[in-house]
Every structure is written in structure tokens, then in C-alpha cells.
């Protein structure tokens, strides 16, 4: 369980995350939604210790993330940020093998390579495993990065806008993969996402942020609600029920 207690973050004088407390249950997908500048990415970066928090406490399975050893934490929690502009001559397989670094410190053994192979198969990257990253399309590159995170084999996976710049087909396939990771492998996934319909269809819980504060958190059906969404986005959003999925109509 990830337990976030009274977390604050200021950039200069502006409060970006303002007294956020939150519990993330194991084996769920939690989506973080909210307008631009709501503090979603900052919050998720603090959970994954990419940036330091000003105040508060974040524990993962009862252990404070600042006290934990870097190496051990990297076996427990992983993050994929939205900008992945790596300008190295790396093949897909080599990138995925980096996911084993916390375990092998660069010297991969047989078990590590098995995990790499598994991750490549899981993301269906077998036929392009020896291609260089700069030869791939945006969607393929994103899949390669997700494969690296899968190879890292952490219980908790954080993704910062993984659907950015992807078309519908790739977006759906990535969300389905995440769902499978939760259902089949018992992972816990936290995801920052802009498209509220993707959040509505694929997540168990939703955390809605605005101006650094949590407006509403809870099961998806509670948050995808006309009044709540009006509160978050300041616009009237119609919600239609189609095949038991709540779809927001905001066009």
C-alpha cells in the first residue's frame, strides 16, 4: 500500500501540491485526473522520489521512501515519465535490459535475461527487438519503455501520461496491457491521464486534483459524476452510460 500523508510542494511561492493525503490499495489502477497545472505530475514524481517533497510523509508498504535504499526501492516502485528523448544508439532489447539494473547492477544473469525476454513478449516487441529506438514510431517507443518497466518487475508502477501523442489504437492497447498487468500479475498502477474517458473505462479508482488539492477521490463511478467533473474542469460534462461504461461527452 502506498500511504501519502499531508504532502506539500511549493515552486517559489506557488503551492503546487497542497496538503494531499491519499491511500493507494494494492492490485488496483488509480488514475490521477485534473486540469493542467493541478499538480498531478508533481505528486506522482514525489511518490517515485524523482523530486523532493517539502513536507509530509510518503510510505510504501510501511517504509518511508526517503529512508529506503535506492537499490531496494527500485525493485519495488518504478516510474515512466512522459518525455523519453533518449539520444543513445540503443536497441529495444538493450533498453528493456536496463530494467534489470536494480537486480544485476549491469551484469545480467540468466534469470535477468529471462525476465527481459518475458517483458518483450508481453509487449509484443519480439519482431522489433533488435531495432534501434530512433527507428521506431512514437507508439512503438512507448511500448518499449513500458517493457523496460515490466522487466524491472516492481510491485508498483507509476506512469506519467503514457498515452501522450498516441493514436486511439495504441492508447487502447496500452491501457489493456496495464489492465492485464493488474489482473494477471497483481501489480498496482498509478497513472496520470488527461482523457477522462480512458480513466473512466480502465481504472478502479480515480483521484481528481485541482490547484494542488484533492477535489474528490474514490471508486471510478463516484468520481465520474456530473457535479464532480463540473467542479474540476469548470465545464458542463454530460455523462452517458454505454454498455455499463460511463462515457463523458464534453465536445
Amino acid at each position: 500500500m502506498v500511504d501519502i500523508k499531508h504532502v506539500f510542494k511549493k515552486y517559489n511561492q506557488k503551492k503546487v501540491v497542497d496538503d494531499v493525503s491519499l491511500k493507494i490499495e494494492k492490485g488496483t489502477i488509480t488514475s490521477f485526473i485534473g486540469p493542467n497545472g493541478a499538480g498531478k505530475s508533481t505528486l506522482i514524481s514525489m511518490i517515485s522520489r524523482l523530486i523532493a517533497k517539502d513536507d509530509g510523509e510518503i510510505t510504501i508498504d510501511g517504509q518511508d521512501i526517503l529512508q529506503a535504499k535506492n537499490k531496494e526501492l527500485a525493485k519495488k516502485i518504478s516510474i515512466l515519465k512522459q518525455s523519453n528523448a533518449i539520444n543513445l544508439k540503443l536497441t529495444v532489447k538493450e533498453l528493456v535490459s536496463f530494467g534489470r539494473f536494480p537486480y544485476s547492477q549491469g551484469k545480467l544473469n540468466k534469470e535477468d535475461w529471462e525476465k527481459v525476454e518475458e517483458a518483450i513478449d508481453y509487449m509484443e516487441l519480439r519482431d522489433m527487438q533488435d531495432k534501434f529506438l530512433d527507428e521506431l514510431s512514437g507508439g512503438q517507443r512507448q511500448r518499449a519503455h513500458i517493457a523496460m518497466v515490466i522487466a524491472q518487475d516492481t510491485e508498483y508502477i507509476l506512469l506519467d501520461e503514457p498515452l501522450n501523442n498516441l493514436d486511439m489504437r495504441h492508447s487502447v492497447s496500452i491501457m489493456k496491457t496495464l489492465r492485464r498487468l493488474v489482473n494477471e500479475m497483481g501489480k498496482t498502477i498509478m497513472i496520470v491521464i488527461h482523457d477522462i474517458n480512458f480513466a473512466s473505462c480502465y481504472s478502479d479508482n480515480i483521484v481528481a486534483l485541482k490547484d494542488g488539492k484533492i477535489v474528490k477521490q474514490g471508486p471510478t463511478c463516484d468520481v465520474i459524476d456530473k457535479c464532480v467533473l463540473k467542479d474540476i474542469y469548470d465545464m458542463d460534462i454530460d455523462i452517458k452510460e454505454i454498455d455499463n461504461q460511463r462515457i463523458c461527452v464534453y465536445f
Partner: protein
């Protein structure tokens, strides 16, 4: 042909050139010429190695392939230290001061400077890499101007001594320091071995490195000190050759086409040694000491730098 074979080819070329340099046209008083040539070649290998090795690390830390450690202002600082010593104590004291003392003193100040710069750099949430470049460049320019200012004030005879200290080339390499440098480089390499495994991961960028469990701030700080020490060693030996690092590390990346730092470091060191020994050989035998190797390196490096800029520009 894979990068392992290419590295071996580079090693063979470097060895052949070294042998050629030492044994070419060996006549006359061999007992006098041979030790002098050997010490020269050792100095070249040390300098070339240190420049290539530190530039590779620096490019990885900054995730940028058109930056060299000179942007940290370390070579300008070295020149400033020399000038201040001449300004305050006169050139005779510099001569009297053993070159070893001078070397240790300069090294200490440069490492201290790197530490202070680091303190400024990793404080708060600033975009560290760009902050580093900015502060380093400003301080480097400041040191440069201050150096020129002092040189204008000192006695012309003193200035000649300062000049001599500053534009050292391989023709008059400081042989006293060669043994000391070998020791320093062995020590720093032993220290570096602890951090070596992190380099490949650091090349992915800060976020990915932290994600994969690299103690980022700790490692980068240590690597920065290693870079500072290596740069001061090479500067003390031959003076600043900015473009050499840029040139050889990029050539190593282009030629070897791998991301593995083990091969990139070795490959860039070999290319560096090939360039320096080859260049020095040409200068001694073809140009008859009409120019120094740094002029040739800077010319070739400058052309290559423009090529890199144009290439980067096209890919945007």
C-alpha cells in the same frame, strides 16, 4: 564488424603509432634520445587518455554530446591560479616552488572549485545541468578576464614566464610531473571503478537513472570530482586542448556505434592517443616544429564541431 573488433583495431593502430614514434629514425646517442622519447610518449598517452576519459564521463552526466569539461571553467581556473601566483609572488618564486608543489596546489584548488560549483548546482530544484553550464561558463569567462587583467599589469619579463606556463605544448611537456600523474590516474581510476557501473544508466537521463535505483546526486558529485582531477592532470601536463575531448569522444560514438561506456571510454582514449601521437609525429617530422599539436587539433576539432552542429540541427 562489431564494436569489440573495432576497439581491437584501434588498439593495434595506437600501439603501432607509439612504436613508430619511439623507434623512428633512432640514431645518434640512443641512451639520451630513447628515454626522452619514451617519457614524451607516456605523457601523450596520459594526457590523451585523461582528456578522453573525463570528457566521456562529462558528456554522460550532462546527457549532451557537444559539451566538454572546459565549460566548467576548470582550465581558465588553472590559468588564473598560475597568473595569480606570478602576480603575487613573482616568477622566480614559481620557479623556486617545485613543479610538484605547484601541481598539487592547482589540483587542490580545482577540486575545491568543483565542489563549490556542485553545491551551487544541486541546491534546490533547478534544472541542474543547465544551471551547471551557466555558472561554469560565467565563472570561466570571469577567470579568463581576470587572468588577462593581471597579465597586463605584470612586468613584461614576468609575462613571458606566465605565457610559457600557459601555452605549454607536447614539445616541452613537463617530464617531472609524468610519474606523479601516473600515480594520480591509477588512484582516480581505482576510485572510479566503484561508479563505473552507473554510467550506462546515467546516459538514459536523470529520471530513468533514479528510477533504476542510482543514488543520483551522490554519484554525479563523485563523477564531477573525478572529471575535475582528470582535467587538471591533463592541463598541468600540456595545457588546455578543448576540442580534443569533443573530437575523440564523438568519433568513438560514431565509429563504435554502441552505448556501452566500457568500449566508448577505451575507444575514445585510443582515438585520443592516435590523434596526439600521430599529430605530434607529423609536427616533428613534417612541419619541423613549425607549429604545435594543439593548433592542428583545434583546427580539426573546430571543423568537426560545426559539422556536429549542422547535423544536430537537421535532426530537429
Amino acid at each position: 564488424m562489431d564494436y569489440k573488433k573495432k576497439t581491437i583495431i584501434l588498439a593495434v593502430i595506437a600501439t603501432l603509432l607509439t612504436l613508430l614514434f619511439v623507434f623512428y629514425d633512432l640514431s645518434g646517442n640512443i641512451g639520451y634520445i630513447l628515454p626522452r622519447r619514451i617519457i614524451k610518449v607516456v605523457a601523450i598517452i596520459l594526457t590523451g587518455g585523461a582528456i578522453a576519459y573525463s570528457t566521456t564521463i562529462f558528456m554522460t552526466i550532462t546527457n549532451n554530446r557537444i559539451l566538454t569539461p572546459s565549460v566548467l571553467g576548470l582550465d581558465s581556473l588553472y590559468l588564473l591560479i598560475q597568473t595569480v601566483m606570478i602576480f603575487l609572488f613573482g616568477s622566480r618564486s614559481l620557479v623556486m616552488m617545485s613543479s610538484k608543489l605547484n601541481y598539487v596546489f592547482s589540483l587542490g584548488i580545482m577540486v575545491l572549485f568543483a565542489l563549490v560549483l556542485y553545491r551551487l548546482l544541486f541546491r534546490g530544484e533547478k534544472n541542474n545541468v543547465y544551471f551547471l553550464l551557466l555558472v561554469g561558463m560565467i565563472l570561466g569567462t570571469f577567470f579568463g578576464s581576470f587572468t588577462s587583467f593581471m597579465q597586463v599589469l605584470i612586468d613584461p619579463n614576468e609575462f613571458m614566464v606566465a605565457q610559457d606556463k600557459m601555452f605549454a605544448s607536447i614539445n616541452n611537456v613537463n617530464t617531472d610531473l609524468v610519474y606523479l600523474s601516473i600515480g594520480m590516474i591509477v588512484l582516480i581510476t581505482l576510485y572510479f571503478m566503484r561508479f563505473y557501473k552507473y554510467l550506462d544508466v546515467l546516459a538514459l537521463g536523470k529520471d530513468d537513472a533514479i528510477n533504476l535505483g542510482v543514488p543520483y546526486d551522490y554519484v554525479v558529485k563523485r563523477l564531477l570530482i573525478i572529471v575535475a582531477v582528470l582535467i587538471s592532470i591533463s592541463t598541468a601536463l600540456v595545457g588546455p586542448i578543448t576540442f580534443l575531448g569533443l573530437l575523440v569522444v564523438n568519433l568513438a560514438y560514431e565509429f563504435l556505434k554502441t552505448f556501452r561506456h566500457f568500449y566508448i571510454i577505451i575507444g575514445s582514449m585510443l582515438i585520443s592517443i592516435i590523434a596526439l601521437i600521430g599529430g605530434q609525429f607529423m609536427i616533428e617530422k613534417v612541419f619541423a616544429f613549425q607549429t604545435t599539436v594543439s593548433v592542428v587539433i583545434n583546427f580539426v576539432g573546430g571543423v568537426y564541431f560545426i559539422y556536429l552542429l549542422l547535423k544536430e540541427n537537421k535532426s530537429w
